[in-house]
Amino acid sequence: MSQNQLDALHRLRTIILQGDEKRLQQLEEQLELLREKTDDADELLEKLDQVLVEALSHKAHDSKAEVADALAPVIGDAIKHHIEDAKEDMVDALYPVIGSTIRRSISEAMKNLIRSVNERIDKALSFQLLFRKIQARVSGVSEAELLLRDSIPFNVHEIFLIHKETGLLLCHVSVEKSANVNQELISGMLTAIRDFARTAFTNNEHGELSHIQYEELDIHLEDGKHAYLAVVTSGVVPTAFPDLLKRTEQATHKRFAKSLRSFDGDTSPYQDAPCVLRKLFSTAKNGHESTAAGASVTPWKSLLLLAAVAALVFSLIWHFRSEPQRETAPNAAETMANRSQVVKEITEHLSARFSFDTANIKYVWDGGVLILTGQVPNEVDRLAVARSVVEHSSIPMVVNNLTYEKAEHDMPAAVRGQIENTVLTFERNETRLNTTEISRLRALIPLIQAYPETEIYLNGYGDTQGNEAANLKISKLRAENAGSLLIDSGVDSTRIIILGWGTRMPQRGNVRNGNRRRVEFSIKARQ
């Protein structure tokens, strides 16, 4: 090609590609600009931030529920972590909200109380006010306290008569139709708490817990020689109530003295006890009268007594909450703070104790609970590892989620042989297993349960005496009885196949001590 031709071609190319070259140059410049922007992380974040906020806002507008579902787990975990890492900060942050809520709640309760007092004053006739003044002067109780008793009425909710030594419930009466159904458990636990308080706070066996306070309820415990009363009340206790409680306890002991002395678990003698106990309910209705008649304690003394009881209850609660932790988890707070150290110690302990590779065991914390996961060789090791962790670590609660690989489809020949070589024998005309044969059958249960993907055939046989129909029936009954024992012991019933063979010869010719009256086993893989 000549020079002229080359020049012409160049001019032609310039004319044709001029626009494209310009666009290409612009694109390269824009690309460079974009690269600079993406390399600048701050600028990129600023741009993305705007986009994300807009996208989130748009999505929230369309479906708040979807956004909430997507964010809830993240927010939950974040709050949880933040609480763990900075408890004090969280308390400071929440205090204005919670503190305000509590203040509002208390304020509301006080307003209701004041409203109730005012209503009673407004509704009362003048001679009633005069009567109250006289009543207050005579009884030594302030007029304000009498008004308070009116505003927070005293109610007896439930009465338990409980045998002192055994903690068994003798009688229970309640004003509510839907009384607590766990009365026997309540009686037992109250007795246990009394026993514990007696041994924890006194050096002799004569001191007794007399009062427990739970939220707005009070439980008054009146001790007697053989039994004690537990009375659940609410409201301000009339000053005469303790006297009445004591009198009721004495009346109960007097009336049931004989049966209480020789109590052996029979609760039928106490069917009349409600008649005695129900008198306590009347104090709720006649609180003022009882107060006026029996008042001998000044308001200040009442308050001091109340404070002392509250202090006792508080110290008891504190003791219950703190003492067990000292006994079972001496360093609970430290354990929480040093979980990795605890896990490290456990890992070393398990590694030293067990021959298999304990590195497969994983430790997951859920609050103060340690969850063990991973695989161990077998069930024995599974239980032994968990027990070892509990004994070694003093962690209050350990959940055992360890697993082991079961060779469910491959029953070893030795196990199969042990089961199939077992022959259960019977006496003549007998279809039930004797104790020896029951023991031999029970010995097979763990082996059978270890391989749930197998079916166990129980083959019953009879001897040659008698007719074939009767022998067939007896042989099947023998197999059924053996199968029932397996099922009762927890073997899946769908794995048990019962067969009655009558007098027919055994498949394997296996006759034990010449006895044809027997049950044999055969095993097949489950279909």
């Binding site: 514990f196 079972t328 004994e391």
Partner: protein, 176 residues
């Protein structure tokens, strides 16, 4: 025991005795609630359960209300623990055959229990039978059971083997 008529319900307190980890709580939960709870919870003091049993043909009562005290930390044998023993009509003593070393500890609190309840009835439960193919009770345990006139029954809270049976046995012996 007083002569009782049909329809009368007796209540009896029984205690679950055994060292930590032998499966006392698991046995009771299996019996009362029908579940196997594979969780180790270091219960403090006592947990109380209730279960109605019956009928008991021929016994002095048709029904029995068992109040079961599941005691924890009894190997420490504190004064509180001894107090909890009070008034018990029977005890189920639970053993873990994988831990023979605990047999001697049992002698101590069993004696304390017997001191509190001289006429109590006992059943020895060799628990975790699901882990053993055979039921071979060690000689020291057999001797201990004999001295308390207690039958030895193999149990498994996991499979439920004999769990209901030991409570039924106990109920029958308490009402006859």
């Amino acid at each position: 025991m007083t002569s009782a008529q049909n329809g009368v319900v007796y209540s009896k307190k029984i205690c679950m005795l055994g060292t930590f980890g032998v499966g006392k709580s698991s046995l009771v939960k299996r019996f009362v609630h029908g579940i196997f709870d594979d969780t180790y919870l270091s219960t403090i003091g006592v947990q109380i359960y209730e279960k109605h049993l019956g009928p008991f043909p021929g016994a002095c009562s048709n029904e029995l209300n068992l109040v079961i005290w599941d005691l924890a930390n009894i190997e420490k044998l504190t004064s509180a623990t001894k107090t909890y023993f009070g008034g018990a009509a029977a005890a189920i003593v639970v053993f873990d055959l994988t831990r023979h070393q605990t047999f001697d500890e049992k002698r101590i609190y069993l004696q304390a229990f017997r001191d509190k309840n001289p006429r109590a009835t006992y059943i020895f439960a060799t628990n975790k039978s699901d882990l053993f193919a055979t039921h071979e009770v060690p000689a020291p345990l057999t001797a201990l059971a004999k001295s308390y006139a207690a039958p030895c029954v193999r149990t498994s809270a996991k499979t439920g083997e004999n769990v209901a049976r030991i409570f039924q046995m106990l109920g029958e012996s308490l009402l006859t």
